[in-house]
Protein backbone atom coordinates (compact mmCIF):
# COMPACT_ATOMS: atom_id res chain seq x y z
CA UNK A 1 0.00 0.00 0.00
CA UNK A 2 1.42 3.33 -1.04
CA UNK A 3 0.04 5.83 1.48
CA UNK A 4 0.86 8.92 -0.55
CA UNK A 5 -0.87 7.45 -3.55
CA UNK A 6 -3.89 6.71 -1.37
CA UNK A 7 -3.96 10.35 -0.26
CA UNK A 8 -4.14 11.45 -3.89
CA UNK A 9 -6.75 8.83 -4.78
CA UNK A 10 -9.04 9.84 -1.92
CA UNK A 11 -8.81 13.48 -2.95
CA UNK A 12 -9.84 12.45 -6.47
CA UNK A 13 -12.76 10.49 -5.01
CA UNK A 14 -14.09 13.77 -3.62
CA UNK A 15 -14.50 14.83 -7.25
CA UNK A 16 -16.50 11.68 -7.97
CA UNK A 17 -13.63 9.96 -9.79
CA UNK A 18 -14.90 6.37 -9.81
CA UNK A 19 -11.64 4.99 -11.25
CA UNK A 20 -9.74 6.53 -8.34
CA UNK A 21 -12.22 4.91 -5.96
CA UNK A 22 -11.68 1.52 -7.57
CA UNK A 23 -7.90 1.86 -7.22
CA UNK A 24 -8.28 3.07 -3.64
CA UNK A 25 -10.40 0.05 -2.80
CA UNK A 26 -7.88 -2.29 -4.42
CA UNK A 27 -5.04 -0.82 -2.36
CA UNK A 28 -6.78 -0.53 1.00
CA UNK A 29 -9.57 -3.07 1.29
CA UNK A 30 -7.40 -5.87 2.68
CA UNK A 31 -6.29 -3.71 5.60
CA UNK A 32 -9.77 -2.32 6.20
CA UNK A 33 -11.28 -5.81 6.09
CA UNK A 34 -8.78 -6.93 8.73
CA UNK A 35 -9.97 -4.09 10.99
CA UNK A 36 -13.61 -5.10 10.53
CA UNK A 37 -12.94 -8.76 11.10
CA UNK A 38 -11.23 -8.22 14.43
CA UNK A 39 -14.20 -6.31 15.78
CA UNK A 40 -17.18 -8.23 14.42
CA UNK A 41 -15.35 -11.56 14.20
CA UNK A 42 -17.45 -13.08 11.40
CA UNK A 43 -16.67 -12.99 7.67
CA UNK A 44 -20.16 -12.10 6.47
CA UNK A 45 -20.66 -9.40 9.07
CA UNK A 46 -17.23 -7.99 8.34
CA UNK A 47 -17.99 -7.87 4.61
CA UNK A 48 -21.29 -6.08 5.29
CA UNK A 49 -19.45 -3.51 7.40
CA UNK A 50 -16.76 -3.13 4.76
CA UNK A 51 -19.35 -2.42 2.10
CA UNK A 52 -21.14 0.18 4.24
CA UNK A 53 -17.86 1.80 5.16
CA UNK A 54 -16.62 2.20 1.59
CA UNK A 55 -19.94 3.63 0.50
CA UNK A 56 -19.61 6.16 3.30
CA UNK A 57 -15.99 6.87 2.28
CA UNK A 58 -17.17 7.57 -1.27
CA UNK A 59 -19.84 9.98 -0.06
CA UNK A 60 -17.65 11.64 2.59
CA UNK A 61 -14.40 11.90 0.61
CA UNK A 62 -14.81 15.67 0.38
CA UNK A 63 -14.38 15.86 4.16
CA UNK A 64 -10.82 14.54 3.93
CA UNK A 65 -7.91 16.94 3.70
CA UNK A 66 -4.23 16.11 4.01
CA UNK A 67 -4.15 18.28 7.11
CA UNK A 68 -6.16 15.52 8.78
CA UNK A 69 -3.31 13.05 8.24
CA UNK A 70 -2.97 10.06 6.00
CA UNK A 71 -5.95 8.98 3.95
CA UNK A 72 -5.66 5.39 5.14
CA UNK A 73 -5.81 6.59 8.74
CA UNK A 74 -8.91 8.64 8.01
CA UNK A 75 -10.47 5.68 6.22
CA UNK A 76 -9.56 3.31 9.05
CA UNK A 77 -11.46 5.56 11.48
CA UNK A 78 -14.55 5.44 9.25
CA UNK A 79 -14.28 1.66 8.94
CA UNK A 80 -13.70 1.12 12.64
CA UNK A 81 -16.62 3.31 13.65
CA UNK A 82 -18.87 1.41 11.25
CA UNK A 83 -17.72 -1.87 12.80
CA UNK A 84 -18.40 -0.56 16.30
CA UNK A 85 -21.85 0.62 15.16
CA UNK A 86 -22.54 -2.89 13.85
CA UNK A 87 -21.38 -4.42 17.12
CA UNK A 88 -23.70 -2.11 19.06
CA UNK A 89 -26.63 -3.05 16.86
CA UNK A 90 -26.18 -6.74 17.60
CA UNK A 91 -27.84 -8.14 20.72
CA UNK A 92 -24.97 -10.49 21.48
CA UNK A 93 -21.30 -10.33 20.66
CA UNK A 94 -20.52 -12.59 17.67
CA UNK A 95 -18.69 -15.80 18.48
CA UNK A 96 -15.03 -15.68 17.74
CA UNK A 97 -13.87 -17.38 14.62
CA UNK A 98 -10.41 -18.35 13.52
CA UNK A 99 -8.99 -14.85 13.68
CA UNK A 100 -5.32 -14.28 14.21
CA UNK A 101 -4.44 -11.82 16.91
CA UNK A 102 -1.06 -11.05 15.52
CA UNK A 103 -1.80 -7.34 15.78
CA UNK A 104 -2.26 -7.50 19.53
CA UNK A 105 0.81 -9.67 20.02
CA UNK A 106 2.87 -7.24 18.06
CA UNK A 107 1.73 -4.26 20.08
CA UNK A 108 2.34 -6.16 23.31
CA UNK A 109 5.90 -7.29 22.78
CA UNK A 110 9.26 -5.70 22.31
CA UNK A 111 10.28 -5.44 18.70
CA UNK A 112 13.62 -6.01 17.11
CA UNK A 113 15.15 -2.92 15.49
CA UNK A 114 14.59 -4.29 12.00
CA UNK A 115 10.88 -4.72 12.76
CA UNK A 116 10.58 -1.20 14.12
CA UNK A 117 12.31 0.25 11.08
CA UNK A 118 9.40 -0.80 8.86
CA UNK A 119 6.92 1.20 10.91
CA UNK A 120 6.12 4.87 10.49
CA UNK A 121 7.43 7.33 13.08
CA UNK A 122 3.98 7.74 14.61
CA UNK A 123 3.56 4.02 15.11
CA UNK A 124 7.05 3.67 16.54
CA UNK A 125 6.22 6.35 19.08
CA UNK A 126 2.92 4.68 19.90
CA UNK A 127 4.67 1.34 20.33
CA UNK A 128 7.25 2.87 22.68
CA UNK A 129 4.48 4.50 24.72
CA UNK A 130 2.57 1.22 24.94
CA UNK A 131 5.68 -0.52 26.26
CA UNK A 132 5.66 1.89 29.20
CA UNK A 133 2.31 0.57 30.39
CA UNK A 134 1.83 -2.31 32.75
CA UNK A 135 1.09 -5.47 30.76
CA UNK A 136 -2.43 -5.71 32.14
CA UNK A 137 -3.17 -2.07 31.25
CA UNK A 138 -1.78 -2.61 27.76
CA UNK A 139 -3.79 -5.77 27.26
CA UNK A 140 -7.05 -4.10 28.29
CA UNK A 141 -6.48 -1.12 26.00
CA UNK A 142 -5.51 -3.26 23.02
CA UNK A 143 -8.50 -5.55 23.49
CA UNK A 144 -10.74 -2.48 23.58
CA UNK A 145 -9.17 -1.08 20.43
CA UNK A 146 -8.71 -4.15 18.29
CA UNK A 147 -11.80 -6.05 19.32
CA UNK A 148 -14.16 -3.30 20.39
CA UNK A 149 -14.61 -4.52 23.98
CA UNK A 150 -16.48 -2.30 26.42
CA UNK A 151 -15.45 -2.01 30.07
CA UNK A 152 -18.12 -4.57 30.98
CA UNK A 153 -16.94 -7.03 28.35
CA UNK A 154 -13.35 -6.62 29.46
CA UNK A 155 -14.46 -7.29 33.01
CA UNK A 156 -16.19 -10.52 31.92
CA UNK A 157 -13.33 -11.68 29.69
CA UNK A 158 -10.50 -10.85 32.06
CA UNK A 159 -12.60 -11.93 35.05
CA UNK A 160 -11.88 -8.84 37.06
CA UNK A 161 -14.26 -6.44 38.79
CA UNK A 162 -15.61 -3.64 36.61
CA UNK A 163 -14.07 -0.99 38.84
CA UNK A 164 -10.66 -2.62 38.52
CA UNK A 165 -10.94 -2.71 34.73
CA UNK A 166 -11.97 0.94 34.59
CA UNK A 167 -9.05 1.89 36.81
CA UNK A 168 -6.57 -0.06 34.66
CA UNK A 169 -7.84 1.50 31.47
CA UNK A 170 -8.00 4.98 32.97
CA UNK A 171 -4.43 4.86 34.28
CA UNK A 172 -3.19 3.27 31.07
CA UNK A 173 -4.77 5.97 28.93
CA UNK A 174 -3.43 8.71 31.21
CA UNK A 175 0.08 7.35 30.79
CA UNK A 176 -0.41 7.08 27.04
CA UNK A 177 -1.70 10.63 26.88
CA UNK A 178 1.34 11.97 28.73
CA UNK A 179 3.68 9.94 26.58
CA UNK A 180 2.06 10.82 23.24
CA UNK A 181 1.85 14.53 24.08
Amino acid sequence: MNTEECDALLIRCAKHDSEAFRQLYAQTSAKMYAICLRIVKQDQLAEDVLQEAYVKIWHSADQYTQQKGKAVTWMATVVRNKALDKLRSLKIRPQETDVSYEGEEFASHDLAPEQLAHLSDDVQQLHQCLQQLKPIQRQAILMAYYQGYTHEELSNTMQKPLGTIKAWVRRGLEKLRTCLN
Binding site: E47, S60, T73, A76, R80, G103, F106, L119, V123
Partner: protein, 258 residues
Protein backbone atom coordinates in the same frame (compact mmCIF):
# COMPACT_ATOMS: atom_id res chain seq x y z
CA UNK B 1 -22.80 22.06 35.35
CA UNK B 2 -24.37 22.05 31.90
CA UNK B 3 -23.24 19.36 29.52
CA UNK B 4 -21.49 21.83 27.25
CA UNK B 5 -19.59 23.45 30.14
CA UNK B 6 -18.49 20.01 31.29
CA UNK B 7 -17.08 19.33 27.87
CA UNK B 8 -15.31 22.66 27.85
CA UNK B 9 -13.02 21.48 30.65
CA UNK B 10 -9.80 20.49 28.83
CA UNK B 11 -9.09 17.67 31.29
CA UNK B 12 -12.51 16.18 30.70
CA UNK B 13 -12.12 16.74 26.97
CA UNK B 14 -8.96 14.76 26.75
CA UNK B 15 -10.23 11.81 28.78
CA UNK B 16 -13.47 11.57 26.87
CA UNK B 17 -11.74 12.00 23.53
CA UNK B 18 -9.42 9.10 24.35
CA UNK B 19 -12.32 6.92 25.49
CA UNK B 20 -14.12 7.64 22.25
CA UNK B 21 -11.03 7.09 20.09
CA UNK B 22 -10.23 3.76 21.76
CA UNK B 23 -13.86 2.64 21.35
CA UNK B 24 -14.88 2.43 24.99
CA UNK B 25 -17.70 4.95 24.72
CA UNK B 26 -21.00 3.31 23.82
CA UNK B 27 -24.70 3.82 23.60
CA UNK B 28 -26.20 7.17 24.50
CA UNK B 29 -22.92 8.52 25.83
CA UNK B 30 -21.36 7.91 22.42
CA UNK B 31 -24.30 9.49 20.61
CA UNK B 32 -24.19 12.56 22.86
CA UNK B 33 -20.46 12.86 22.35
CA UNK B 34 -20.83 12.60 18.55
CA UNK B 35 -23.51 15.29 18.62
CA UNK B 36 -21.27 17.58 20.64
CA UNK B 37 -18.37 16.93 18.28
CA UNK B 38 -20.49 18.16 15.40
CA UNK B 39 -20.82 21.54 17.09
CA UNK B 40 -17.66 21.91 19.15
CA UNK B 41 -14.57 22.37 17.02
CA UNK B 42 -12.01 21.88 19.79
CA UNK B 43 -13.61 18.64 20.95
CA UNK B 44 -13.66 17.38 17.38
CA UNK B 45 -10.02 18.33 16.83
CA UNK B 46 -8.81 16.63 20.03
CA UNK B 47 -10.78 13.48 19.27
CA UNK B 48 -9.50 13.32 15.71
CA UNK B 49 -5.96 13.75 16.99
CA UNK B 50 -6.33 10.73 19.26
CA UNK B 51 -8.01 8.73 16.50
CA UNK B 52 -4.94 9.49 14.39
CA UNK B 53 -2.60 8.30 17.15
CA UNK B 54 -4.44 5.05 17.74
CA UNK B 55 -4.99 4.36 14.06
CA UNK B 56 -1.28 3.55 14.00
CA UNK B 57 -2.24 0.30 15.71
CA UNK B 58 -3.84 -0.77 12.44
CA UNK B 59 -0.52 -0.51 10.66
CA UNK B 60 0.65 -3.79 12.14
CA UNK B 61 -2.52 -5.74 11.43
CA UNK B 62 -2.00 -8.49 8.85
CA UNK B 63 -4.08 -7.88 5.77
CA UNK B 64 -6.95 -10.17 4.80
CA UNK B 65 -8.63 -10.13 1.41
CA UNK B 66 -12.40 -9.77 1.36
CA UNK B 67 -14.36 -11.73 -1.22
CA UNK B 68 -14.94 -10.17 -4.64
CA UNK B 69 -18.65 -9.83 -3.98
CA UNK B 70 -17.96 -6.93 -1.59
CA UNK B 71 -16.67 -4.72 -4.41
CA UNK B 72 -19.47 -5.90 -6.67
CA UNK B 73 -22.00 -4.91 -4.01
CA UNK B 74 -20.36 -1.50 -3.56
CA UNK B 75 -20.39 -0.90 -7.30
CA UNK B 76 -23.99 -1.94 -7.53
CA UNK B 77 -25.04 0.29 -4.65
CA UNK B 78 -23.26 3.32 -6.03
CA UNK B 79 -24.55 2.63 -9.52
CA UNK B 80 -28.07 2.55 -8.18
CA UNK B 81 -27.50 5.91 -6.56
CA UNK B 82 -25.89 7.15 -9.75
CA UNK B 83 -29.10 6.25 -11.58
CA UNK B 84 -31.05 8.46 -9.21
CA UNK B 85 -28.52 11.27 -9.43
CA UNK B 86 -27.63 10.38 -12.97
CA UNK B 87 -26.21 13.69 -14.02
CA UNK B 88 -24.93 14.74 -10.59
CA UNK B 89 -21.37 13.39 -10.86
CA UNK B 90 -20.93 14.69 -14.40
CA UNK B 91 -22.11 18.15 -13.48
CA UNK B 92 -20.22 18.49 -10.22
CA UNK B 93 -18.39 21.81 -10.31
CA UNK B 94 -14.82 21.82 -9.05
CA UNK B 95 -14.92 22.18 -5.33
CA UNK B 96 -12.90 25.05 -3.91
CA UNK B 97 -9.65 24.02 -2.23
CA UNK B 98 -10.35 22.91 1.30
CA UNK B 99 -9.33 25.52 3.84
CA UNK B 100 -8.27 24.96 7.41
CA UNK B 101 -11.54 24.70 9.28
CA UNK B 102 -12.29 27.55 11.66
CA UNK B 103 -15.94 26.79 12.20
CA UNK B 104 -17.98 29.65 10.77
CA UNK B 105 -15.25 30.94 8.49
CA UNK B 106 -14.44 27.66 6.77
CA UNK B 107 -16.74 28.46 3.86
CA UNK B 108 -16.49 32.25 4.22
CA UNK B 109 -12.96 32.29 2.86
CA UNK B 110 -13.99 30.58 -0.36
CA UNK B 111 -16.19 33.53 -1.35
CA UNK B 112 -15.00 36.55 -3.26
CA UNK B 113 -14.95 39.82 -1.33
CA UNK B 114 -18.08 41.13 -3.07
CA UNK B 115 -20.07 37.96 -2.46
CA UNK B 116 -18.82 37.71 1.12
CA UNK B 117 -19.98 41.26 1.74
CA UNK B 118 -23.33 40.42 0.22
CA UNK B 119 -23.68 37.36 2.44
CA UNK B 120 -23.00 39.46 5.53
CA UNK B 121 -25.62 41.99 4.46
CA UNK B 122 -28.17 39.30 3.80
CA UNK B 123 -27.48 37.71 7.16
CA UNK B 124 -28.17 41.02 8.87
CA UNK B 125 -31.27 41.57 6.71
CA UNK B 126 -32.71 38.26 7.82
CA UNK B 127 -31.71 38.96 11.39
CA UNK B 128 -29.34 36.04 11.45
CA UNK B 129 -26.42 36.68 13.78
CA UNK B 130 -23.19 34.76 13.96
CA UNK B 131 -24.11 33.01 17.19
CA UNK B 132 -27.36 31.30 16.42
CA UNK B 133 -26.71 28.09 18.25
CA UNK B 134 -28.62 28.22 21.51
CA UNK B 135 -29.34 25.43 23.95
CA UNK B 136 -27.58 23.09 21.49
CA UNK B 137 -29.94 23.80 18.49
CA UNK B 138 -29.23 25.06 14.98
CA UNK B 139 -31.26 28.01 13.70
CA UNK B 140 -30.05 28.35 10.13
CA UNK B 141 -28.21 26.67 7.28
CA UNK B 142 -26.66 28.04 4.12
CA UNK B 143 -25.57 26.60 0.80
CA UNK B 144 -23.76 28.38 -2.03
CA UNK B 145 -25.09 26.60 -5.09
CA UNK B 146 -22.85 26.91 -8.11
CA UNK B 147 -23.29 25.90 -11.70
CA UNK B 148 -20.81 24.19 -13.99
CA UNK B 149 -21.59 27.02 -16.39
CA UNK B 150 -19.60 29.92 -14.98
CA UNK B 151 -21.79 32.36 -16.87
CA UNK B 152 -24.79 31.41 -14.77
CA UNK B 153 -25.41 33.13 -11.46
CA UNK B 154 -24.59 31.53 -8.13
CA UNK B 155 -27.59 30.86 -5.93
CA UNK B 156 -27.32 31.45 -2.22
CA UNK B 157 -29.80 29.29 -0.31
CA UNK B 158 -30.45 30.26 3.30
CA UNK B 159 -32.63 27.95 5.35
CA UNK B 160 -34.15 29.57 8.40
CA UNK B 161 -35.92 27.58 11.11
CA UNK B 162 -39.65 27.99 11.08
CA UNK B 163 -39.64 29.72 7.70
CA UNK B 164 -38.14 27.93 4.73
CA UNK B 165 -35.47 28.10 2.05
CA UNK B 166 -34.67 31.58 0.78
CA UNK B 167 -33.03 31.65 -2.64
CA UNK B 168 -31.05 34.60 -3.87
CA UNK B 169 -29.42 34.76 -7.29
CA UNK B 170 -25.98 36.37 -7.21
CA UNK B 171 -25.47 37.67 -10.72
CA UNK B 172 -21.76 37.07 -11.12
CA UNK B 173 -22.00 36.09 -14.74
CA UNK B 174 -23.63 37.72 -17.68
CA UNK B 175 -26.25 35.07 -18.33
CA UNK B 176 -29.44 34.52 -16.43
CA UNK B 177 -30.81 31.05 -16.10
CA UNK B 178 -33.38 30.55 -18.82
CA UNK B 179 -36.03 27.91 -18.42
CA UNK B 180 -37.43 26.28 -21.58
CA UNK B 181 -41.19 26.28 -21.91
CA UNK B 182 -42.85 23.44 -20.08
CA UNK B 183 -39.90 22.98 -17.76
CA UNK B 184 -39.26 24.07 -14.19
CA UNK B 185 -36.38 24.28 -11.72
CA UNK B 186 -36.73 21.80 -8.88
CA UNK B 187 -34.92 21.95 -5.52
CA UNK B 188 -33.56 18.74 -3.93
CA UNK B 189 -31.89 17.69 -0.68
CA UNK B 190 -29.08 15.15 -1.04
CA UNK B 191 -28.52 12.99 2.07
CA UNK B 192 -25.06 13.05 3.64
CA UNK B 193 -24.64 9.29 3.46
CA UNK B 194 -25.98 8.96 -0.06
CA UNK B 195 -29.35 7.60 -1.05
CA UNK B 196 -32.37 8.95 -2.83
CA UNK B 197 -32.61 12.76 -2.99
CA UNK B 198 -35.63 14.41 -1.38
CA UNK B 199 -37.67 16.87 -3.39
CA UNK B 200 -38.27 20.22 -1.72
CA UNK B 201 -40.28 22.05 -4.35
CA UNK B 202 -40.26 23.95 -7.61
CA UNK B 203 -38.46 27.27 -7.87
CA UNK B 204 -38.25 30.02 -10.46
CA UNK B 205 -35.52 32.40 -11.54
CA UNK B 206 -37.12 35.26 -9.61
CA UNK B 207 -34.86 36.63 -6.96
CA UNK B 208 -35.57 36.41 -3.22
CA UNK B 209 -38.12 33.63 -3.30
CA UNK B 210 -38.84 31.19 -0.51
CA UNK B 211 -39.64 27.47 -0.48
CA UNK B 212 -41.66 26.64 2.61
CA UNK B 213 -40.29 24.01 4.99
CA UNK B 214 -42.25 22.34 7.76
CA UNK B 215 -40.86 21.14 11.09
CA UNK B 216 -40.28 17.60 9.81
CA UNK B 217 -38.35 18.94 6.83
CA UNK B 218 -36.30 21.17 9.13
CA UNK B 219 -35.45 18.20 11.35
CA UNK B 220 -34.38 16.18 8.29
CA UNK B 221 -31.84 18.85 7.32
CA UNK B 222 -29.36 17.57 9.87
CA UNK B 223 -28.91 14.52 7.61
CA UNK B 224 -28.60 16.55 4.40
CA UNK B 225 -25.19 17.03 2.82
CA UNK B 226 -25.98 19.08 -0.31
CA UNK B 227 -28.73 21.04 -2.03
CA UNK B 228 -29.21 20.73 -5.78
CA UNK B 229 -31.46 22.24 -8.45
CA UNK B 230 -32.35 20.31 -11.58
CA UNK B 231 -34.36 21.11 -14.70
CA UNK B 232 -37.52 19.00 -14.82
CA UNK B 233 -40.73 18.79 -16.87
CA UNK B 234 -43.41 20.90 -15.22
CA UNK B 235 -46.15 18.28 -15.23
CA UNK B 236 -44.14 15.46 -13.71
CA UNK B 237 -43.37 14.97 -10.04
CA UNK B 238 -40.80 12.20 -10.16
CA UNK B 239 -39.31 11.22 -6.82
CA UNK B 240 -35.75 11.46 -8.19
CA UNK B 241 -34.09 13.99 -10.47
CA UNK B 242 -34.52 13.08 -14.13
CA UNK B 243 -33.14 16.17 -15.82
CA UNK B 244 -29.85 18.06 -15.86
CA UNK B 245 -28.47 19.23 -12.53
CA UNK B 246 -27.93 22.96 -12.97
CA UNK B 247 -26.77 23.94 -9.50
CA UNK B 248 -25.49 22.26 -6.37
CA UNK B 249 -23.75 23.22 -3.18
CA UNK B 250 -22.80 21.87 0.22
CA UNK B 251 -25.25 22.58 3.03
CA UNK B 252 -23.55 24.08 6.06
CA UNK B 253 -24.59 25.29 9.46
CA UNK B 254 -24.46 29.05 9.19
CA UNK B 255 -23.36 29.57 12.74
CA UNK B 256 -20.97 27.88 15.10
CA UNK B 257 -20.45 28.39 18.78
CA UNK B 258 -16.64 28.06 18.49
Amino acid sequence: MSELKRYQNPEVFERLAMDYAIGLMRGRARQRFETLMQRHLYLRAVTQAYEQYFAGLNECLPEQQPSEKVWQAIEQQLDLEKTSLHKMSQKTPSAPSPKKSTGLFAWWHTLGAQTAGFVASLALLFGIGFSLVNSGSVSAYVAMMESTDTQRPTIMATVKKGEGVYLHFIQQGSQQTTIPQGMTLRLWCIPKEGGVPMMMGDVSTHDDQVVKLDQAGWNDLRNVGRLAISLEPMQTKESTPQGDILYQGKLMIMSDND
